[in-house]
Symmetry: C3
Subunit: 272 residues, 3 copies
């Protein structure tokens, strides 16, 4: 497997460009994640909006720089809006990111994720259970996920992620204790983050929203790597100040707001 | 009135079992409470999911260990999903908890709560105004509640709670400055918590979600007592560190994450 | 332009009355803002409720002291509920506040805001881009807003706000680095707040909810001025303790809970 080189300098340059551009990120996301995702995007330097009505998603995509689609609390009117927004994003050449929350947990959810994955997302970001399910490596209830949490390790899903990347054309990011970014030809492992992160809700969803923000300033693979590195460094910097998960979202926002090259270099390690 | 004995050791054993089991808790809850409820469940040691579409609630109940139903921001599609989820939970013998938020505030809300209360919840958890209304002791607008807040004391609702428990077969928990758990034969008073708790939104809702998590490892009465004791101790430990309500949810999560027998013994008192 | 005198004493008297009255504030607001708005209202001394079903909004308005309507994550069923609630509020003589989030971003959103603005709100509260759009000074996408964020300064929207106030009969509050309250005859500038506030989501929405609470104890102009002064002072007191936006909502709640005349005098300056 080829591994393209990446560097902390690349990541920090992407962040600097993002802050200068202040991209407008259109989110169609779940109720749990809305507030923390918006705060993460604001602290990062992006401008978030949560807009889901079929009556306006196409118009909103048109003024946005990127779109994040997250199926966490899906229902038919929201799925319809996701399809409309995605079609318009594709027509306008705007990048969009898919977070297939809980894929594999129910047939309805898996079907929604599979259909969206076929609509040319720039990046798909999920945990190991979700990516294994979306790649067709596991059916529902086969023991790789627990509702929306994964019981598999990200490393176990790298082959599935590569296969999914080849089939969909998307860059696939699998996140866990170690994160992986796969684009069909290459895979990049990113060691960062903190053990408290799975104990605070919607951080994965917020990471997907952050990934969308980076797609406004970088191609999909570079965007995904930058997003995972920046978010992981923020989580690591935040987590080491804490003894419990309660203040983690607030501390991650502060760490994103203060993120600099030194913090990235301290908390992020790329592996081939 | 008979009072069955309970002890701090019983509560801590239930918490230890919950952490080992890591139950998947399916929540159909209100928009305000979703994020804090998820964080409370994660800090406690459970795995939360928020799933409300009629297309998938029955499938999701089937993979869950317990169900929490909360009518805080109800509307017809959500009520329909609640009924479907409850029916499946009952068919599969899975316990479910009802939080009748704002019962008594409007006829629509009262009717939804009354109908759900008739569907064999393991536990009903509410404030005094809600329980008085649900038990039929007060009509709407009779001065025992203020929207979703109660103007009555929990102690005033103990008789109503016992009557409701007898009629529905549910254990009924009435929470306030002192909490009560009634099962038709017995009542247990729990002195714990902190005066700041009513000033932070959705903590009662989060307590109901936590109660559902405990029903996955204990029968209803023991589950309700353990849930109230653990949450109250977390609130007491958190509150005494604070001079205002702003950081209370985060501090409660940290206290739940760190909860041990010593903290329970320090902050919880059972009364006959 | 005439400027009616206002004073810190007036503001503190309004806050004292609000705390004594503990008004029930009915919110039909967006998913992002619900939790922080509820916490802001609780910390302020009000009793919040989030109720949006067409089946019950009219009944809930009837037991409430004021109504806040916010179009942040609108969709047709919510807009229908807003209209029903507003009609009942007007019929009962209860004050209501409009927050036209993202007005100008899409035709659907602008139309919803314009229609609601014509239904006699007591106060309209928005950022410069929203007020310019609502007043008809800019069309969609004309560069004064970025999704739900404004790129214009509040001061640029004062003439539009005055015009909008004359046309609708509402007091119009435009918020930004400096806030303005316009009622058609007068305008009041309020210097307060903190530079971190735009980096935390839904604080403007929470301010609108807080404004509704003040309309329960003061006429619209005095209510808007008191709401902006109290919220701005809380933001200023909170912000000066912080180096990033993460803990801002929690600290604002603590500052609201502790708000006194001294803090108001320290952080609020009225300008003619």
């Amino acid at each position: 497997v080829l591994v393209s080189p990446v560097s902390i300098d690349d990541v920090f340059a992407a962040l600097t460009d993002l802050r200068a551009r202040r991209p407008l990120v259109h989110n169609i996301t779940n109720y749990v994640a809305m507030s923390v995702s918006a705060n993460v995007l604001l602290a990062l330097g992006a401008s978030p909006a949560m807009v889901h009505a079929v009556e306006e998603v196409e118009d909103f995509v048109a003024i946005s720089d990127a779109l994040a689609v997250n199926i966490g609390t899906l229902s038919p009117p929201w799925v319809e809006a996701m399809h409309k927004a995605v079609a318009r994003a594709n027509a306008l050449g705007k990048p969009w990111v898919l977070d297939p929350v809980g894929c594999g947990a129910t047939p309805y959810r898996t079907q929604a994720a599979v259909e969206l994955a076929g609509l040319k997302p720039a990046v798909i970001r999920g945990n190991a259970g979700e990516i294994l399910s979306l790649a067709g490596q596991t059916g529902a209830n086969e023991g790789k996920s627990k509702g929306v949490d994964s019981t598999a390790k990200a490393g176990d899903a790298v082959a599935a992620a590569s296969s999914l990347a080849k089939r969909t054309g998307a860059v696939v990011a699998v996140t866990g204790a170690v994160d992986y970014v796969c684009d069909g030809q290459s895979q990049t492992a990113i060691e960062t983050g903190h053990a408290l992160m799975p104990l605070s809700t919607a951080l994965g969803c917020s990471l997907s929203a952050e990934t969308a923000a980076f797609t406004a300033v970088r191609p999909p693979r570079e965007a995904a790597i930058a997003a995972l590195a920046v978010f992981g460094a923020a989580g690591a910097a935040a987590g080491q100040k804490l003894s419990g998960p309660g203040h983690l979202p607030a501390e991650i926002c502060d760490a994103l707001y203060a993120m600099d090259r030194t913090t990235l270099a301290r908390f992020v390690k790329f592996r081939s």
